[in-house]
C-alpha cells in the first residue's frame, strides 16, 4: 500500500504492486513544470526516477525492461480529481478495480473518487471501508472524497473533521449542488477546523428544473427542457462570494458555461481562493452533438454552445481554468438504453481524455501540447494532492504515448465496466502505451511487449 500525506491527512491508496525497473530510450520527454522538453533516456529503478540523460547514454541495468521511445512521448502521468467509481452500491457500473484499470489505460497515475454512491460516503466507517478496499483492488492510487452534507441532502454537515482525519481527499456533494447558502457558508467556516478543499457541483435547481440538455436552439428544436447557463454561473458567483467572505478554499467542478468562466476569472482577480476544472467533453463537443439524442452525450452540466466551449478553451490558456478533469461517470448499458429524457447523466472519460483533447485541440493548433499536459496533470494539485513530475528522485508517475497512433473509440472495448462514452465511434489520435503509477507499471498496451535488457 502506498500512502501519501499532505497538509492534513488526505490519503491516496492502491494495492501493492512490484516497483518498476524500466529504461525508456530516446522518447520525447515533456514535463510542463520543468525545462525538460526533448529526447532523453529515462531510467526508473525500484519505482523511482533514477536518471535522466542524453539519448543513448544510459545503460540498462540487469533485469530492467527496455522500451524504445523513438518517435514516442513521455509525460508525467495524468491525474483526475473528479471520477465516479460507483463503489459502494453500484458495482454493476464500475468498481475500484475496473475504474482504476480504466484510469491507468487512459494514462492516469492518481484519481479521486466522488462520494455520491449508494450509500453515500458521509460517515467514517464507509470511508474506512473504501480505503481498505482500494488497498486490495486499486491499480493506481485513489483518493476518496467525502460528502459535505449528511446523506448529501444539503442540510447538516457531515463529521468533516473525523472524515478528514481518516483521509478524505476533499469534500463534495458532487452530482448535487449545496443549494442552501447558509449550509454552504457553514461548511466554509468549518473548513478552518478540518481543512480539505470544498469541490462544488454548481447548479441552481430552481433554474435547471427538469432540464435534460443545454437550453438553446437545439433544445427548442427537440422540445426538451433546457438547463440554462445561468443555472451554473449564478451559483459559481454565490459560492465565490461566500468563499471570499469566509476565507474558504473552493474548487469548482466541471465548468461548462462562458458566464461561469467569467465569474471565476473575476473571482480569482479579486483574491478568492478558487480553482476550477473543465472536462474533455465540454472542451470538444457542443449541444449540436446531442441532436441525435445519443444518451451517451447526456451529462450534467450539459454540452453547451460554441461560445461556451471557446470560453473554456480560452480559460485554459489564460489560467482561469486550472485543470482538465473527466467527471468519468459510468452507467450500465440498459440504464442508458432509454429515451434521452429518462437517461441518467454522465459519460465515461478516463480512457479518451488525452486522445480527445489532443485530437480536437492540439492537432488543429488550438492549444499547445505542453499546456494540455500541464492541465491534465494539475487536477490533484487543486485539492492540495499529488502533482506528478519527471525529475530524478521522484516516484515514477509516467505516461508513455504514441501521438501518431490512430484508434477508434470503443472498437476494442473499454477497460471500464461501462461503455457509455460520449466519444464512442470517434477516430482519435494519440494512444497510451504504458502507464507507471506510484512507481509500478499500471497499464501496458497490447503492442508493448516485455523486453528485458
Amino acid at each position: 500500500m502506498s500512502t501519501r500525506e499532505r497538509g492534513a491527512q488526505a490519503r491516496l491508496v492502491s494495492a501493492s504492486a512490484r516497483p518498476a525497473d524500466l529504461l525508456i530510450r530516446g522518447a520525447h520527454v515533456l514535463d510542463p513544470r520543468s525545462a525538460i522538453d526533448g529526447a532523453h533516456d529515462v531510467l526508473v529503478r525500484d519505482g523511482e526516477i533514477a536518471a535522466i540523460g542524453v539519448p543513448g547514454t544510459i545503460e540498462a541495468p540487469d533485469g530492467c525492461e527496455l522500451l524504445d521511445g523513438a518517435g514516442r512521448h513521455l509525460f508525467p502521468a495524468f491525474v483526475d480529481p473528479h471520477v465516479h467509481l460507483r463503489t459502494p452500491g453500484q458495482e454493476h457500473k464500475e468498481d475500484l478495480e475496473t475504474g482504476t484499470r480504466s484510469a491507468a489505460a487512459g494514462g492516469y497515475c492518481a484519481i479521486v473518487a466522488m462520494p455520491n454512491t449508494a450509500p453515500v460516503v458521509d460517515s467514517p466507517p464507509i470511508l474506512g471501508a473504501l480505503l481498505d478496499g482500494a488497498a486490495r483492488e486499486a491499480r493506481i492510487p485513489v483518493g476518496f472524497s467525502a460528502c459535505i452534507t449528511q446523506q448529501m441532502a444539503g442540510r447538516e454537515l457531515t463529521e468533516m473533521a473525523e472524515l478528514r482525519a481518516l483521509g478524505a481527499a476533499c469534500f463534495t456533494d458532487d452530482g448535487r449542488p449545496v443549494v442552501d447558502a447558509g449550509v454552504m457558508r457553514r461548511a466554509l467556516q468549518y473548513q478552518r477546523l478540518c481543512g480539505g478543499v470544498l469541490a462544488l457541483h454548481e447548479e441552481d435547481p430552481t433554474l435547471s428544473g427538469e432540464g435534460a440538455m443545454h437550453e438553446g436552439a437545439v433544445s427548442a428544436l427537440l422540445g426538451i427542457a433546457g438547463i440554462p447557463s445561468v443555472s451554473e454561473s449564478t451559483m459559481v458567483a454565490r459560492d465565490c462570494a461566500l468563499a471570499l467572505y469566509e476565507g474558504g478554499r473552493i474548487h469548482v467542478q466541471h465548468l461548462s458555461a462562458r458566464e461561469s468562466v467569467e465569474v471565476v476569472a473575476a473571482a480569482k482577480a479579486a483574491g478568492v481562493a478558487v480553482t476550477c476544472e473543465a472536462s474533455p467533453h465540454h472542451l470538444t463537443m457542443l449541444d449540436e452533438d446531442v441532436r441525435e439524442l445519443d444518451t451517451r452525450r447526456k451529462m450534467n452540466p450539459p454540452l453547451r454552445e460554441a461560445a461556451d466551449r471557446d470560453a473554456l478553451i480560452e480559460g485554459l490558456r489564460s489560467g482561469a481554468i486550472d485543470c482538465i478533469a473527466t467527471d468519468h461517470a459510468p452507467h450500465a448499458r440498459d440504464e442508458k438504453e432509454v429515451p434521452f429524457e429518462r437517461a441518467p447523466m454522465g459519460t465515461t472519460g478516463l480512457e479518451t481524455a488525452f486522445a480527445a483533447v489532443y485530437t480536437d485541440l492540439v492537432l488543429p493548433g488550438t492549444l499547445t501540447l505542453r499546456l494540455v499536459v500541464e492541465k491534465l496533470t494539475a487536477g490533484m494539485g487543486c485539492i492540495d494532492l499529488l502533482v506528478p513530475r519527471i525529475a530524478v528522485g521522484e516516484a515514477a508517475n509516467l505516461v508513455f504515448v504514441d501521438l501518431g497512433a490512430e484508434w477508434v473509440v470503443g472498437e476494442a472495448g473499454y477497460e471500464s465496466r461501462s461503455e457509455n462514452c460520449a466519444f464512442a465511434g470517434r477516430r482519435l489520435r494519440g494512444r497510451v502505451l504504458l502507464t507507471v503509477a506510484a512507481g509500478a507499471v499500471a497499464y501496458r498496451e497490447r503492442s508493448i511487449m516485455l523486453s528485458a535488457a
Partner: protein, 313 residues
Amino acid sequence: MKHLLSIADLTREDIERILDRAAAFEEVSDRDIKKVPALRGRTVLNLFYEASTRTRSSFELAAKRLSADVVNFAASGSSVEKGESLKDTVLTLSAHSPDAIVVRTPHAGAAALVAGWTTAAVINAGDGKREHPTQALLDVHTLRRKLGSLEGRNIWIVGDVAHSRVARSNVLAFRMMGAHVTICGPPTLIPRGIEALGCEVRYDLDDLREADVVYALRMQHERMDQHFVPSLREYAARYQINGRRLGPCQVLMHPGPVNRGVELSGEVVDSPQAVITMQVKSGVVVRMAVLYEVLAGARDEHPAPRAQARQLA
C-alpha cells in the same frame, strides 16, 4: 419511406404524395362500407404510453378501413407498470411480428429508439414535447382543402409552444409547404432559441390581423400548477382567440381537445371559420395514407425478400 418519425425527415414531395393519397382515401370514408383491402393481413400495433383517445382511435379507424388487423397496447395495466423497460416491451411485442407500430411516449426521441429495436415500420404518434408528425400532416391536408395551397400564407400558432409537440411539427411542416409562420404566446411559454425553427416570435396578438390562419394550442390546466402564467383569466384576456380578435376571412384551427373559454371562446369554436372537426376527419384519411405509405408504399422502394435471396444465390 420505412418510418415516419419526424417532419424533418420528409421532403415537400413526400408530404404532397402522402396527402394526394389521403385525398384519394377520402372517397372511402364517404362510402356505406368504409373499407378497402389495401392492408389485408397486415398487423398494426398501437403502443401508447400516454392517455390518448383521439389519436389512438384515429389510427385504429385508419388501419381498419385499410383492412389491417389492429392490436392496442396501453401502458396502464400492462407489464410497463410492473417495471418493464421500453426496449423490453418493444422486443416482446415485436416477437408477434407486427408490420407497423404506432407509438406515443412522453419522451423525445423515443419513436426513433423503437425503430432501432424492431423490424416493423414505426409511426411516431407523439414523442414527448418534440413532434407529432401525423398531426402536422393532417393540418396541412386540412389547409390544402380549405385554401388550396399554403404557399405564401401567414400562419399564427398561438399558445403554449414550450410544451407543444404539435407546435414543433407544424412549424416544420407549414414552412416546408411555403407558409410564413409566426408563433405567439406568453414569454414564459416560448422556448429560448425557438427562432431556429425558422419562425417569427411575438408576445402579443396586436398583429393577429395579418394571419390567414390562426392555430390555437391547447392551454393545459396542469401547467397552472407550475405557474407559467399567473392565472387562466389573465391568459385568456391576453391570448384567447375570440370573436373580437378573429377576422371573418381567417381560418381557425385547434388540435383538440378545446378548453372553451380559455384559448378559444365558445363563439369562435362554433363559427364558420373554425375547421376543427374537419381536422379530425382529415386525421383518419391522412393516417390511412401514412400507414399505406410505410406498409405498401415501401414495397416499391425495397425489393421483396425473395428477390434479395435470389440475388444472393
